[in-house]
Structures are given as C-alpha cells and as structure tokens.
Subunit: 370 residues, 2 copies
C-alpha cells in the first residue's frame, strides 16, 4: 500500500487533427497526460489536457516527456528542439525526409528499396520534358503535398496534363499501372524489436484513401517494412504504402506516424496503431499484434458523419462511426470514418461496400468526389 | 454538400467515477458532448466537456438532451428533475429501486424472478433473530451499501457475526452456497428491442469483483434478464448478477447502468457496454453484440496500475491496462483494471491468473485484501 506513486507520462503531440484525437482517446487508458502544439485547435485539442500555440514550442517540449508528430508538415523548430532534448519519436530524419519528396525517394533508392523509377526536376519545363520522355508519369511537387495535392498526371487518361503550379522542385515518377494498393502498419521499439499488423488493401481516389480492408496477402511487405524501420533507426509506428504489381510490392511512400490506412486496427485487433505507437514511444511492452477478425474502414470524405448518417450506418452489423467534429465541411476533407469488422474477408467486403453506399449514396467511384 | 449539419447530442452523466470515464472515452467517436454532475470531480470529470456541481442540477439537466446515472447513489432531486423533463435513461423506478435493497428484493419477488429467500427487519435485534432462524444468512443494510459494504454474515464460516451497524432497516437473506457467480450485460431500446452480450463468470472477494471471464454458459440468464428488462420498462444497459446453484441461476442483484462485470466488452466484442448504452439512450441503432474472442478482466483493487505495474502487465499477451487516475490509493478502492483476451477460454483463464499474480504478487485469495 505504501509503494511510491509512479507518475504517468506527459505526451506531446505536434498537430491537432484526427490522428492526434484518436491517439489521445486510445491512450487515456494508460493514464498519460496529453499536450497539443497547434495554432488552429482541431479535434485533438478538444480532448487534450493542454493545448499550446506553436510560438510556445520550447515550453511545450520542456513540459513533455516525449514528443511525436501526428502530421509531417509541422513546425521544424519544434521538431528540432524536441530532437535536441532527446524527446522526439520517431527520429528527426524520418520526419524531415517527408518534408521533401525528392529526399524521401533518394533515401529509398539509395537503400535499395523497390520503388518506381523517378527523377528530380528543378522547374516545370524540365519536369514536363522528363515526364514526356517517360511516357506515362506523375509529377509531384517536392514539398507540401499530401492527400493527392500538388500532383499532375502526364500521359495517363484522356486530355492534356493540367499546368504545373510553380514550385522549387518536382519529383517526376514513372506511372505504375498497379493491380492494387496496400499498406502495412509496423513498429520498432528502442531495443530494435519490430512488430507488424497484417497488411491491408487500400482503395484511393484522387490521392485520398477511400477504404481499406485487412488482412491482405503479405507479398513481401513485412520484410520491406522491417528493413525500412532499421534503415531509419526508427522508434514508433511507421506506415508503409505500396503499389502491387504482378504479385510484387513497390513502396509508394511511407508515413512516419500513425496512418489513415491503419484505422482498421481500432476494432478487431489486439492493439490499435495508436496505443501501439504510444506504448512504443513511452517504453511500454507491446506483444505481437493479433488480428481477431477481418477489419476495414471507409473514410467519410466531404460527407458529415452526423446523427442522421449514423442512424443509417450503424444499422450495418459490426460498424462503429467516428465523427471527428471538424468545424467546416469541405469537398476533399476527411470528416470521419467507419470501422467495419466481419466473420470473413468476403463478408467484410460486402459490409464495406454497403457502408460506402450509405455514405456516398451510390457506387463510390463516380460519386466519391462530385 | 449543402445538407444541414445535424448537431451531436449533449449527454449528461450523474456521477464522476470510472464508469463515466469509460463511457465518455468510448462515446467520443459518436461526436456527442459530455456533461458531468458531481461535487467531487473524479476520473469522468477530467475527460468531460463540462462539469457542474450537484446544486446546479436543474441547469445541468436543462443543458443535456439525455441524462444517465453511472452510480445508483446519486442526488435524488437530479434524478427526479431529469425524469420530469423526459430525459432520464434508464427509467426512474429502476434507479430508485436500487436505493433500497428491500424494495429491489420485493420487486424481484413480486415479479416471480428466481432469488434467494429473504425477509425485511426493522431493527438489528429482529435481523439477528431472523438470521439465526434461517441458519445461514447474510444481513444487508437496506440503504447505501455497495461493493460489500454494510453486509454481515451469520452462521457462515468460523466466529461470531460482527455487530450490526445501526440502520433504519435490514434485508436478511438466505445464504446461498453457490457453485459460482455470473452476470449478463443486457440492453433494451425505446422500441422494446433487447440485446445481450454472452454472460461472464465472476469471482468476488468480500463483495468486490476481482475478475470476470466471458463467455459463460447461459443457464437461463438471458431469459431472466429479458423478462427483467420488460418488467422495468427499461431503456439502456442493465447488468444482472447471478448466483449459480446446481446449474440454475438466481438473481443476486441488478445494476441499472453499465457495470464492472461488463468491462470485458471493451475488447474482444463488437461493441462495448459503454457505447451500447450511449447508442441506446440516444436512439442510435445497436445490432446484436458479437463476442470475437474469449474476454475477461482483472480488477486492480487497492493496487496502483502505475507505469512500473504496466511494464509487467503489458508483457502478458493481449492485455490492456486501464488506470483510472484516482487521486488516493485506498485498500478497497478500484484503481484500474486489466482487459485480457485469448484464443480459447482455457488460454484466457491462464492469462487472467497470470495478470492476477502480477497485480497482487501471488495467489489472489489470501493476498487480495491484506
């Protein structure tokens, strides 16, 4: 009875979106306190203990035991200060690589990972010339893009490519005519021990995840993710996204954080990606994840998961609706998602399709982004 | 895109303990706002949107769309005011019955439910005389007792019965030499539709739940709970606790709320008791619960689930630690619990025992309450 009270940890999250929101909701059971650094308080700020503006990043880092980003495009000074204090997880390089696609791509190529061919262009004219030489290509702005923003397809589909927005540099990437997309949620702890959730198949539309389903056949993804975790000297949860071509997996990109394609781990798995990340970065044990039941999600993009929608969605068996509570509905904005589980992969796919129909009012591909 | 935004609901919780805390954590995904009415802010107040003192009960009820207790011994004025406003779930009578054991017992007997024999005594001398006539009996104060408080055994075990504390009346109950204890988490919606989680077996020590494991054979519990839900005109989640004797189930008591023996539904089930209660009282659909995987819990009674303890507990596969963050450690106080899942009932029992050993440092029964 007289044992000393061991204090819970103060966990600092850089960013205030739905990833931080779910990290806090999943992490409360561990008894930690949660701090948010963000100028525009989003979903995470509403459930955090403390929210500080970005200008107070030093105070924020000093108050926290560990600091982790929920988004790559966060203030670099905060990342670097947390790094210097030995509090940043995952390591600085893995986050900074993601601020410039050309660095990410070079890192992957230099370490021998399977990726589509690419070249770096310094201006729009060079990018277009390189793309035309490749035949079919995607031109991506090196900095700032996510969820399909800042991307232009050349030689793919009908019509001419849209004019490029001015940018300091571009990555021109061979267009991969993939059979499918998939991703894996992996983690590595400070002792180098690695763990993997079973991969999920993903369907993206215009660069935004529409839905994912787990499990998916491995096709070498676990091995690639394992090598990437080591190459990055990583500590925390890492998401790796793949193109699947002829039964082989090519890395599309990685995310040095919890990831939308890992939301299925919230239900039907022995541990969610969010709790896993928190346990790893605070030094708590994480046994091998177990998938209890085929699990997937459907994103609500540009659609409110309000009460009227919930009434329809929750009639589908084994669904749980997540409403992020964002203040403004926008066309390409993720407003929430729906978790789905089922007794078989086939039943899961049927339920996922039903949820998609309820959310978007019909077949998703034509109506997804009107 | 122009659809009107349907507001989330304001859910009022009477009480601020761990049951309210978990209800809020589980309910955030639905987008509701949570209000707490309590004078001593506990775990639930730390994660609520608003916390009001009991004297402001009218303002509290007026602000909320629905009101629900997380504890029976809450302010009667608040219950009655919420009832008059048509906002109280479950119905007033089911909560008020629990403020007096003699009323609860008479209700169950009058409705023909299987319960142990009992009689009501108006003073201590009468209670002791009735108990001696029964041979083996439990004398319970009619009001205020929970977690084994206010109970005295007569003719059970060695030594004389402890002297009774003065009380306005007592329930004298035949001592049931049970083979085991079990409970079921049931719910009924406003349309009278009823749903059931599979029952769990429970082990109590000195009136406090030590651990529970699901599933357990039904033995008629589902049918009894179904009739009780109807008899109470119930809306919400109801927990019914049973003694098991010779393959039959006798009601020990019911709890008109989410319940400690239902915490196993947090992991390994398609829906937790907390989300189920919220969905039912706010009028959202609840499909039939599915148990994915044998699931159980071990309570941390008088033991902190601090970081040092978490480091040991989380090494056991498929465990999740819940630290309630209460401010003071006391001998009989529930400080947290551990959820456990496993691939079989046998593996679950082994893991539950291992978790008990880690929490209490040995065989639980001698060391549970030192």
């Amino acid at each position: 009875m007289k044992s000393p009270r061991i204090q819970p940890m103060n966990v600092g999250i850089l960013g205030s979106g739905q990833l931080g929101w779910m990290m806090i909701l999943e992490g409360r059971k561990l008894g930690n306190r949660f701090y948010i650094l963000a100028d525009e308080p989003g979903p995470a700020a509403r459930v955090a203990d403390v929210c500080l503006p970005v200008r107070d990043y030093e105070k924020f880092v000093d108050l926290c035991d560990v600091v982790t980003p929920e988004f790559e495009h966060v203030d670099l000074r905060a990342l670097e200060y947390a790094h210097r204090q030995g509090k940043l997880f995952p390591p600085l390089e893995s986050v900074v690589l993601k601020t410039d696609r050309s660095r990410e791509k070079r890192f992957l190529r230099d370490h021998g990972f399977p990726i589509p061919d690419f070249q770096v262009a310094r201006d729009a004219a060079e990018a277009l010339a390189l793309a035309k030489r490749m035949g079919r290509a995607v031109i991506k702005e090196s900095r700032g893009g996510y969820d399909g923003k800042g991307q232009t397809y050349v030689g793919v589909g009908p019509g001419a490519a849209a004019p490029l927005r001015p940018a300091p540099s571009y990555v021109v990437e061979e267009y991969v005519d993939f059979d499918g997309e998939a991703s894996i949620i992996a983690s590595r702890d400070a002792q180098g021990r690695k763990l993997f959730h079973p991969p999920s198949s993903n369907e993206n539309l215009e660069g935004i995840l529409l839905r994912s389903e787990a499990p998916h056949a491995d096709l070498g993804m676990r091995d690639i993710a394992s090598r990437l975790l080591d190459a990055l000297g990583y500590v925390g949860v890492l998401a790796v996204e793949f193109f699947l071509v002829d039964g082989k997996a090519l890395i599309n990109e990685f995310a040095p954080r919890v990831h939308n394609s890992g939301h299925h781990t919230l239900h039907g798995s022995s541990i969610s990606q969010f709790e896993q990340h928190l346990r790893v970065i605070t030094g708590l044990p994480v046994p091998e994840p177990v998938l209890f039941r085929p699990s997937g999600i459907v994103n609500a993009v540009g659609v409110e998961v309000d009460r009227r929608m919930q009434e329809k969605l929750l009639k589908v068996p084994e669904t749980r609706t997540y409403s992020y509570g964002k203040s403004g509905l926008r066309k390409r904005r993720k407003m929430g998602h729906v978790n789905v589980t089922a007794s078989s992969r086939q039943e899961l796919t049927a339920r996922i399709r039903e949820v998609t129909r309820v959310l978007y009012g019909g077949d998703p591909l034509p109506c997804f982004l009107p």
